[in-house]
Assembly symmetry: none
Homo-oligomer: 290 residues x 2
């Protein structure tokens, strides 16, 4: 029995590995070994238990235990005598695990996942979708991998990497790449998307008040405004933690969006402003996310 799903690329989505929550203990030597195994696997395509054990000077059993663990994470497929690279649909996730992005991804993961799932369901019927930069939009894009007949336009290289090999056609903006966020910005990107028309835009934000919504990067803000200007349906994804928060740039007013998807009832002031701006507000319940 037991069997937890072995092929989950990102842990946060699968809530079933419930045990030891805070077990980020000081495993210092163990990860080094596993990194070695994965490196070898990437360069050679397969590894042998005996060979690795011999090279690292540890017992076969230790390597075997490492392989079991790595297989549960979906990073390899165990075979008799060793392991090979998983052959299924490429998991991708651009190799550099940008810590800051990962950290933001974990913050309020349940709420974001619920918002992302709801948003993905709503846009499934549309043909051309503009996807903004951000963690919540990134989570939403994961649901789009298997969506057919969709053209996705984005300035997020993370989103495009995630969708690579999936069903949607992906178009990426061209221009300067912002390092931490892996987003494309600049006049070239603006000009490129200014000529298009999207059925629906999915926008992220870092803050939301009754006055409008905000972002901390003015480079990305310009392109967000393009998405808003060139889309029929304009969906803002914003979890409850961002209510009443402002950031560097005001991206737009509440009247600029047609729908807000969040994970809790907004405070009265914001709710009133949303109603006045005739924004369709949807609440995604974290429980309802599979």
């Amino acid at each position: 029995m037991v069997d937890d799903s072995p092929r989950s690329a990102i842990p946060s989505a699968t809530p079933d590995l419930a045990p030891s929550r805070g077990d980020e203990r000081a495993r210092t030597l163990l990860p080094a070994r596993q990194t070695f195994i994965l490196d070898r696997l990437a360069s050679a395509g397969s590894v042998s238990v005996t060979a690795i054990a011999g090279e690292l000077g540890v017992s076969d059993m230790t390597i075997r235990r490492d392989l079991v663990e790595l297989e549960r994470e979906g990073r390899l497929v165990r075979i008799h005598g060793g392991a090979v690279v998983p052959d299924g649909p490429a998991p991708v996730i651009m190799d550099s695990d940008e810590p800051r992005f990962e950290a933001r991804l974990r913050r309020g993961a349940d709420g974001k996942a619920a918002i992302a799932a709801l948003a993905a369901g709503l846009i499934a019927g549309h043909r051309t979708v503009a996807v903004d930069v951000g963690t919540t939009t990134y989570l939403m894009a994961r649901h789009l991998r298997e969506a057919p007949h969709i053209k996705v336009f984005t300035n997020s290289l993370r989103v495009s990497g995630l969708l690579d090999g999936g069903l949607p056609e992906v178009y990426v903006a061209g221009g300067r790449v912002r390092a931490d966020e892996m987003s494309v910005y600049g006049p070239t990107a603006i000009a490129q998307f200014e000529t298009l028309w999207f059925d629906v835009a999915v926008i992220g934000a870092s803050g939301l008040t009754a006055e409008g919504f905000y972002d901390y990067s003015f480079e990305d803000a310009d392109l967000k405004r393009v998405y808003l200007r060139r889309s029929g349906v304009r969906i803002l994804l914003c979890d409850a933690a961002k209510f009443q928060r402002m950031s560097l740039v005001e991206v737009g007013k509440l009247s600029d969006i047609t729908m807000l998807i969040t994970d809790a009832e907004p405070p009265a002031r914001i709710a009133a402003a949303l109603a006045a701006a005739r924004v369709d507000v949807r609440i995604a319940s974290p429980a309802a996310s599979a």
Copy 2:
């Protein structure tokens, strides 16, 4: 059956990583063996049981069992004494479909790494660098992470992802994203880079003959030509396995490039053509990479 090192297809062991611990009777793993058989089949059109068994240092019976299994999967057709490709013999040296990126990365990894290192050293002095799609260019980009004062222009999302967070400024082309290769192509990308001027372009290829150099994908070929047209120094990276191979598209003639970096002396015919085209040929020695 003792420590076999069959040529260069499977060994994959970094020779001197750890001193001879317990002795290694590294038997080639089952999937590695089958991959070897299929590779041999693809390049030669047929395989002989005895020959394969001899090369891999296993018994005939083992190979025979592998063939039975592979035949069940429809990957080959067994005949008396060996096996042939399912459809019919393909004696031509014309590749039509493109293996997956990770698989290509492993093939001739040592040579590619040496080429990449040499190329990275040569372009370190330049300011604006155009980097093409491909495994060798990808490996080269890895060396560029710590290079300051460089602007990298590329249509490869893999390269841009690799360089993310590094010192160079990265600019990516915009347009349609080709799955698996994660390259951007199309008129938008072309138009965007047509207006620029690069100090140096680093181009990959899938085949090289005295007539010119080739690529699998006609989508990417257009942008390769832009790189060639808009760059002062035009460097082609091409490992020795690609000599005398042709692919779908002829990207350009030898006279279109200013330098060729490879990992072995080219055959006479190609060498003569390179000299006639006044191409600067550099040989990277795999030993010197490390």
